[in-house]
Each structure stands twice: as C-alpha cells, then as structure tokens.
C-alpha cells in the first residue's frame, strides 16, 4: 500500500515536472471545476429526493389503488353476504312452513325422495331469484338431509340445489346460461335447464371445509356465524370457487342447512380486470394470509393479464419501506396488502387480505427507463460542458499561440501589433525592445542608418577622378584652403568640384560630408570609399 502511494506520488512529481500545454492545463482546470459542480448538483438532487421519487409515487398510486380495490371488494362481499343472509331467512321460512304443514321434522325427510323433491321445488325459485340478482356466478342451498341414508358415503352426502352460470364472459353479464350443477334432475327438466356435465344428485359436504360444523351448530340467527370457504376445486371440473356459507336457521335454533353464493376463480378474474398503469399491470388478489405468506391457491385472483401469475402460487411477503415484495420462488411482485374481515364467528381464524400486485420486472423496467433518461441527460450535459470548455480554452490560448508562431517565424513588426490581450502585447513589445538593444550592443547599425551609408557608398561611383582626389584630401583631413596647393588647381576650380561632389553624394554642406566620413570611419567602412 505504502509502496503504491509512493509510486503515485512519484508519478505526480514527474507529471508536475513535465511541461504541460497551456490549453490542456486550462482545460484540466475547467473539467475539474465542472466535475465538482456536477457532483454537487447530483448530491443536491439526491438529497432533495429526486431519484427516489418513483418509489414514492408508486407507493402513492398503490395505496390509492389498494384503497379503491378494497372498498370495491368490501362492498361486493358485503352485498353478497346481505343477499345470502336474506336468502337464508326466506329459505328458513319456506322450509319450516312445509315441515309444519306435513307435520314432520327435517330428520324425517331423509330417505324420502318425494319430500326432498317437494322441498327443492319450493327452494328453487328463491335460489334462482338470488342468482339473477346477486353479483356472483352461482347460488346453492344444502339441506341437512339425504336421499339414501343406507349408502356408504351418506354421512357426507347432502341434498340440495346448486345453480351456476356456464358461459361467463368478461363483458356479457346479460345472457348467461344457468346450468344445474347439483339437485334432483326433475327440476332441471321442468325448468328447461341443462344439467352440468359433472352433475351430481347431492353435495359432498367433505368438499366444503367448515360446512359440516356449521350445520351441526345451534344458532340464534344466521348473521351470528357465516364464513367464506377457501377456494375449493369443483370436483371433476376445471373450475374452482369460493363459497359463502350462511346457515339456514330454524325458529328453534336448529340449522336446517347451509346456503350462499359462489364466486368462481373465473368470475373473480372477469370481475376484477388488471389495471394497466405506468408501473405495470396491477392484479387484484383476495387471499388468506398465513405466516407472512399470501396463499393465492386458496383465494381468488383477478385478471392476470400482463403478468405470469396463474393463481396457484404461495407468495412470501417481504415488508419494504415504500412497498412490499411478494416472492413466488420464481417470480417477484411488488405491491401492498390490507387485512379485511370477511367472515364472522368462525372457529378457525383465517386472516384474509386484499392485495394488489405488480410484476417487479415491469416496475424495474419503468425505473430503468427513468434512470436511463437521467444518465443520458447527465452524459449529454457533461459532453456539452466538456466541448464548451475545450472551445473556451482554445479561444483563450489562440492569441498567445499565434503570437508565439509569429515570434518563431521572425515576423516581429517594429510597431507593436495588437493581439487583443494586453499582457501578450506588452510581452511582444518587451521582447522587441530587448532584441533591438541587443543588436545595438553588438555594434550593428540600425538598418535605416545602414541604408543611408550604403547609398552614400554607392553614389561615390558617380564622382570623376579629379573629384575623387579632392574627396580623398578631405578624408585625409585637409581644409578647403589647402586644396589649390596640394592639387595644383585654382580655388575657383576647387569650388566647382566641391559643388559637383555635394550634388552627387547628396549632401548639402561640407560639414554634412565630413559627418558622413567621420561616421563611416567609425563604422570601419571608410575603405569602401576608395
């Protein structure tokens, strides 16, 4: 670890020593700044709860949905219970009236198919009316009597009628066909009803847990004790259903039998369609709750479209902050549930829950969508900022690099050229000045002066031989008065030559001529005049 740290430090030092381009350095500063600001923004957003918003929204939506669903379910089941209790009272009255009329007890109806048929004929209109009026797919009545007590299964075989709708469909409650599932077939023939393919004369009470106990109880009134059975398979059919079991209580407290309504898995599925929302398909469930498990196989499941639920699963519940997770073992669902009491006075205390479930996959896809959008937006923002910093750094450095290029190409103008940045201009001027001084220090003439000298030297070729002689005398330091003697010419001739020399060399006076000669001597270029 320490070694690694050392290595990193060494690397850092090395990088520091390396000369880095100004643009790169500038960009590095920009990028660091952008990243810091970006991180701060992300931090602020997450503190503000922008990212957990979908969880919260899901919770809100689900809570509302659950409340609606539960209200619907409670209203639905309450209505059915009320209708069943009413059916129970009417059946009780009719049965009692018939028994009194015949002067017998219910026990004496056993082994008497004629009397059972008569009782069923009396009960049929009430059952049929309840089926027509109630929001259910079947109504039944079981009398605590059987056609043949001599049979092997007679103790759990009970006479009764069970009417069911056969052709349920999602949106057509108008024309359902009533089939005769249980009961004496004579009634079906009288009423022109089709016998169910798996018709039986009597009920098998062992198929309905709790039914026997209810019939054996002594009660004051039917509302004292009633219950919804767990979902049971209707023998030999592909259907399963929950039965509401309400006792038919006689005036002396004996229970004549059990009656109630049936909600089949199919009927429930059609009555509670899946709500397809932005988070996925929400499925309605009414199921027993046991040891943090939701037993779908014993309850009812609404339409499962949009999910892979098949209504047979046991869901393990994991409580969460915003919502619960429901695990089938292979699939996961998220949702909420709420306990709702649907039975009364039941010995076995089953907690029933209304729940809504959304496939976790579809919610995950939804949040992944949002995440993807966030990541993409952040990425685009970053890219834009990086591009911006690149352009900015480049345009900032460009005058400097341009100036540098010009320095390198020796194109420095004498007059300072504006680069737009005062520091750069100053630097250029400074460098110019320094270069000039340096040249002077090395004895170099300033170029314009050197040019004057050059012209002067070139012009001397225009002079005649005798004019050149006279110039030489001047160079040697002789005065004008000494020239006639030295050159053996008159003073007037000297003057004439002087005029010509001044004219040709471009000077105005002897003093100016002497200045040139003096300067050329100083520059060591005097011999060029010879």
């Amino acid at each position: 670890m320490l070694n690694k740290l050392k290595e990193i430090r060494a690397l850092n030092a090395f990088v520091k020593k390396q000369s880095v381009g100004m643009q790169r350095k500038l960009m590095l500063y920009w990028v660091s700044m952008i990243l810091v600001v970006f991180a701060a923004v992300i931090l602020l957003l997450s503190i503000a709860g922008v990212f957990s918003q979908s969880d919260e929204r899901l919770q809100e939506v689900m809570e509302l949905h659950l409340k609606n669903t539960q209200d619907n379910l409670v209203a639905h089941l309450d209505r059915l219970t009320a209708q069943s209790l009413n059916l129970s009272k009417e059946l009780s009255r009719e049965i009692e009236a018939t028994l009194i009329q015949d002067g017998i007890s219910l026990q004496q109806v056993n082994d008497d198919p004629e009397r059972l048929l008569k009782l069923q004929q009396i009960m049929y209109p009430l059952i049929n009316a309840t089926l027509q009026a109630a929001d259910c797919n079947g109504v039944y009545v079981i009398l605590d009597a059987t056609t043949n007590t001599a049979l092997a299964g007679a103790d759990h075989s009970r006479s009764g009628i069970h009417l069911r709708y056969s052709n349920l469909s999602a949106s057509s409650p108008v024309t359902p066909t009533v089939v005769y599932f249980r009961g004496i077939p004579d009634i079906a023939r009288q009423k022109d009803l089709e016998l169910h393919n798996r018709w039986n004369l009597e009920f098998d009470t062992d198929q309905i847990p709790g039914c026997r106990e209810l019939m054996d109880a002594t009660l004051d009134r039917p509302a004292q004790r009633y219950f919804w059975s767990r979902r049971i398979d209707l023998k030999d059919t592909w259907e399963s259903a929950m039965l509401l079991c309400v006792p038919i209580v006689g005036s002396d407290g004996t229970v004549y039998g059990v009656c109630g309504v049936e909600i089949s898995a199919l009927y429930f599925q059609l009555s509670y369609p899946a709500a397809d929302g932005q988070f996925g398909s929400a499925v309605t469930v009414l199921a027993p709750l046991q040891d943090s498990r939701l037993l779908l196989s014993e309850g009812l499941v609404g339409s499962v479209s949009g999910t892979y639920l098949d209504g047979q699963e046991t869901l393990v519940i994991h409580q969460g902050r915003y919502y619960n997770e429901y695990d089938t073992g292979t699939e996961r669902y998220i949702g909420l549930h709420q306990i709702m009491p649907i039975s009364r006075g039941e010995a076995e205390d089953t907690a029933w829950a209304a729940a809504i479930l959304i496939p976790q996959d579809s919610y995950a896809a939804y949040t992944a969508d949002i995440q993807k959008a966030w990541v993409m937006a952040a990425l685009v923002l970053l890219l834009v900022l990086l591009a911006f910093s690149f352009f900015l750094a480049r345009s900032f450095v460009r005058p400097i690099t341009d100036s540098l290029k010009r320095f390198q190409q020796d194109e420095l103008p004498e007059q300072s050229l504006s680069s737009g940045i005062s520091e750069v201009d100053e630097l250029a001027e400074f460098l110019n000045a320094r270069a000039r001084n340096q040249r002077l220090e090395q004895g170099e003439l300033p170029p314009n002066i050197a040019e004057l000298f050059d012209q002067f030297v070139v012009r001397k070729d225009l002079l005649t031989e005798s004019e050149r002689n006279i110039l030489r005398y001047y160079i040697d330091g002789h005065e004008i008065a000494e020239i006639p003697d030295l050159a053996f010419i008159s003073m007037s001739t000297v003057r004439k030559h002087n005029r010509s020399i001044y004219e040709k060399l471009g000077v105005a006076s002897r003093d100016e001529l002497m200045l040139y000669i003096d300067l050329l001597r100083r520059c060591g270029r005097l011999q060029e005049l010879f």
């Binding site: 049979l151 393919n197 018709w199 834009v384």
Partner: protein, 454 residues
C-alpha cells in the same frame, strides 16, 4: 472541420438518447390474448391444460400470454360473436380468438373483422393441413376458420345396462348398426323397462337419444340419395319420411329421449343408454350413472360407428369448428397466430385431439403421431372411441354440410319442433290407450312439416 466533428458527435449522442428512451416496459409486458373455445365446457378442459403448457414455454419465450375467458359451445359463441359484431347493447368485447363454424362467419355483417390466415401462413404451411379441412374454412375467398380438430358423429353405448337388456331380450349390438334396427331395439327397450314395474303403467324408459336430429335427417336424406335442403328451406322428400317413420314409432312408444339438452345428461342419469353425438362429447360422458335414490353404478361406455339406413349409403357427418382470429394490432395478431401454429404442430395437435375425442388436422399428425397416440391410450373409453373412429374412416364417406345462411335457423327450428311434436305424439298415444301409432306418427309429421314450411 473540428467544429463539424464535434457537432456530429453531439448529434449522435442526442440521437442515441432518443433511441434509448423508447419504452422498455413494453418489452417486459407479455402480449395477452383472449380465447373463447368449446373444448371442455364445464368439465375438465384439455385445451386449457395445453394453453398453460404453451404459456409456460413458447409463451414465456415470446412474451405471449393466452387467457381463456370463456369455455362454452359453438351456439353460445355464435350468439355472442354476432351480438359483439353488430355492436348490440350489453354485447361482450370480441376476444382475439374464438371457435366457430363458417356459419357464424357468414352471419357476420362484415367478415373483414377476421384475419385471413393466408396473410400469416405460407402456402407450404397450409399444405401440411388436410386440404378438405382448409377448404371448409374458406368464406368469400378468405381463409378465416383455421381447422384445429375435426370430429364426426359416433354412437355411444352404456354397455353395462345394454348387456343386461341384451341378455333379457336378445337384442345385439349389431342390431344397432342400422337406424331401423336401432329404433326396433328402442321399442323393445321401452316394453322391457315398462314391464319391470307392472304396477306403474306408461313408465317406459328411453333407450336412445340423438344430440342433433337436424343432422340425423340431413345425413339420412343425403345417404338415401336425396337433397335435404331446397333453397332456404327443407325438401321433405320421401327420404325424410323414411327417416321420420322409425324414429316416430320408437319415440311415440317412449323409446327415444325427447327432452332438450345434451345427450350426455340423460346417459348420466340412466334415462337413456344409447346416444349418437359428436365424438367430442366423449369428454362429458361420466363413468357413473346416478339414479333418483342417489345410488350410483359404475358403467362402461363403448363407441361404435354411427348407424345408417338399410338402403342408404354409409355417410356420416363431419363436424368440428375452427379458430377465427379477430383483427386487432399486429402484435396481438402475431401472438394469436403463434399460438395457433403451436397448437397445430403435429405433436401438440395429436395430444390435444386424443384428449378431447377429435381427429387431428395435418397429414403428418394423422400418419406419424396418431397411430402411436392411439396405442398409448390408457382409458378403454377413449380406446373404444378411436377404434370406432378408425372403423368409420375405413368404411364411411364424410358429409360436410353446405354453407347456407338459413342453416342455423333451420337447425334450431327443427331441433325444437321435432322434439315437441314427438313428445306430443307420445302424449296422444298414451291418452289413446296406446293405440293408433301409425296415425299419430303421420299426423305429427304433417304438423311438423307445416310448422317448418311456415
């Protein structure tokens, strides 16, 4: 140049974002398609099991979820489909797939609401089906009914009770090979059962029940070389009388079950012991008969080919509806077709048909898979059915009913009125002290004919 590159890069990134932001949720959600079918009714539905198998395998792979929203019969589906197609108040929404006969399609106000299977099946795929079956599903030059299973009419016999009857009276199973023989046996059965309770007169039991008298008269007339239909009505030629007379004699004497409902119901209660019905009704025959005193008896149901007339051809009704696919979205249509292709693959098709009492629809299924599947049948009831099926195929010709717009109304009227008139005839006969059989039969035929021609 550099600028341009940068802009390009930015544009590319933005496009990428737009491309990624399309809804991933859709991909996660299965396409749910709904089905109304007739395979199973209120009993166990083998098709529902197969649909579960599909949902768990191919469905899961391709994100298709097939949901059965109604299992009923073709007549109920016919009513519902017509109500929905005509937009009647309270009508259900059409499912993606429903099972029907071409007659339902012909009654639709606009059959373009259905998918033409030629859009989804290649010529090669369609050539795998038996051509006659495909031909049957063509309405107005569009293939709208896809065959998945075909049935025929079969005679089912409660052998346990029939053996008892046979021993007592000498009537044999072979006597039931012709309609004439069958109705004679029914008359004997009525006498035999009536005689068992000498103290109660007129309580003869019925031996025979026919699911569709319309089919009986139709195939009967055609097998005797006569047209059954004439225009939009019935022909009522001599062959109709030939079919009527033995039926009426037996019915008036109480040997024929005349209550409505399916044949399976009266066999279940022991009210009759021989039926002619679709081979597919095998699913609904119970192995137990329950009597009014709640005693029950285990019985053996056997199958034999449908009876024929002594002077008639060996002709039998070919039945079996097919699947119609309702036009919706391309995804849903594709999902529906994927399911249908899966269901008509020989392997699945044979599994499906042998559990429901049907025949497969593709050549490969018939030749390669069916014989093996029949050998493996464990239930003697099903083994007997498929033996009867093979016998039928060996010696009978199949009759396919014509596509007539008035077909369904004629069928419904005939079913109701034949039963009603024969029941009234039975009552007349009992009231007349069991005399005047021939006259009652002729009178009832006259009344029946008048009603049908009205």
């Amino acid at each position: 140049m550099k600028h341009r590159n940068c802009i390009f890069l930015l544009l590319a990134v933005l496009l990428l974002c737009a491309g990624c932001s399309n809804t991933a949720k859709k991909e996660e959600t299965p396409t749910t398609i709904t089905v109304w079918h007739v395979y199973g009714g209120q009993a166990d539905s083998p098709l529902n099991d197969l649909i579960d198998a599909f949902n768990q395998t191919v469905g899961k792979e391709q994100q298709i979820n097939v949901q059965v929203t109604s299992v009923s019969n073709t007549n109920t589906i016919h009513e519902l489909v017509l109500a929905a197609a005509n937009g009647e108040p309270g009508a259900p929404e059409l499912p993606d797939l429903f099972v029907s006969y071409p007659k339902t399609v012909m009654a639709l106000p606009d059959d373009s609401i259905l998918v033409d299977y030629r859009d989804y099946f290649s010529e090669e795929e369609l050539s795998a089906f038996l051509p006659a079956f495909v031909e049957e599903g063509v309405v107005n030059d569009r293939l709208v009914v896809l065959p998945v299973a075909k049935s025929t009419e079969i005679m089912f016999i409660n052998k346990t009770i029939f053996d008892r009857f046979s021993q007592a009276t000498g009537v044999t199973l072979e006597d039931l090979d012709t309609w004439e023989g069958l109705y004679r046996a029914a008359e004997i059965y009525a006498d035999w059962t009536d005689a068992q309770t000498p103290d109660i007169p007129g309580d003869a039991k019925s031996m025979f029940v026919h699911d569709y008298y319309f089919n009986y008269f139709q195939v009967g007339a055609e097998s005797l070389g006569e047209d059954f239909f004439q225009g939009d009505g019935l022909a009522f030629g001599p062959a109709f009388r030939t079919a009527w007379e033995p039926l009426a004699r037996a019915a008036i004497q109480g040997g024929v079950w005349l209550q409505g409902g399916y044949a399976t119901a009266s066999l279940r209660t022991g009210d009759s012991i021989v039926s002619v019905a679709s081979s597919a009704s095998i699913l609904y025959y119970s192995d137990v008969v329950t009597y009014p005193d709640n005693t029950s008896e285990e019985i053996t149901i056997i199958s034999r080919p449908c009876p024929v007339f002594e002077n008639g051809d060996k002709l039998v009704m070919q039945r079996g509806a097919g699947f119609c696919t309702v036009r919706s979205t391309p995804e849903r249509e594709r999902a529906a077709i994927t399911f249908l292709k899966w269901l008509t693959e020989p392997e699945h098709n044979v599994e499906f048909v042998t559990r429901t009492g049907y025949m497969p629809v593709t050549q490969a299924a018939f030749e390669k898979h069916l014989p093996k599947a029949i050998e493996e049948l464990e239930s003697p009831k099903y083994a007997s059915l498929y033996q009867a099926y093979l016998d039928t195929q060996a010696s009978y010709e199949f009759y396919v009913p014509p596509q007539l717009e008035s077909y369904l109304s004629l069928e419904t009227a005939l079913e109701d009125h034949v039963r009603a008139q024969l029941s009234l005839g039975r009552q007349d006969y009992l009231d007349a002290g069991e005399t005047g059989l021939e006259q009652i039969s002729a009178d009832r035929l006259q009344v029946f004919r008048e009603i049908m021609e009205r």
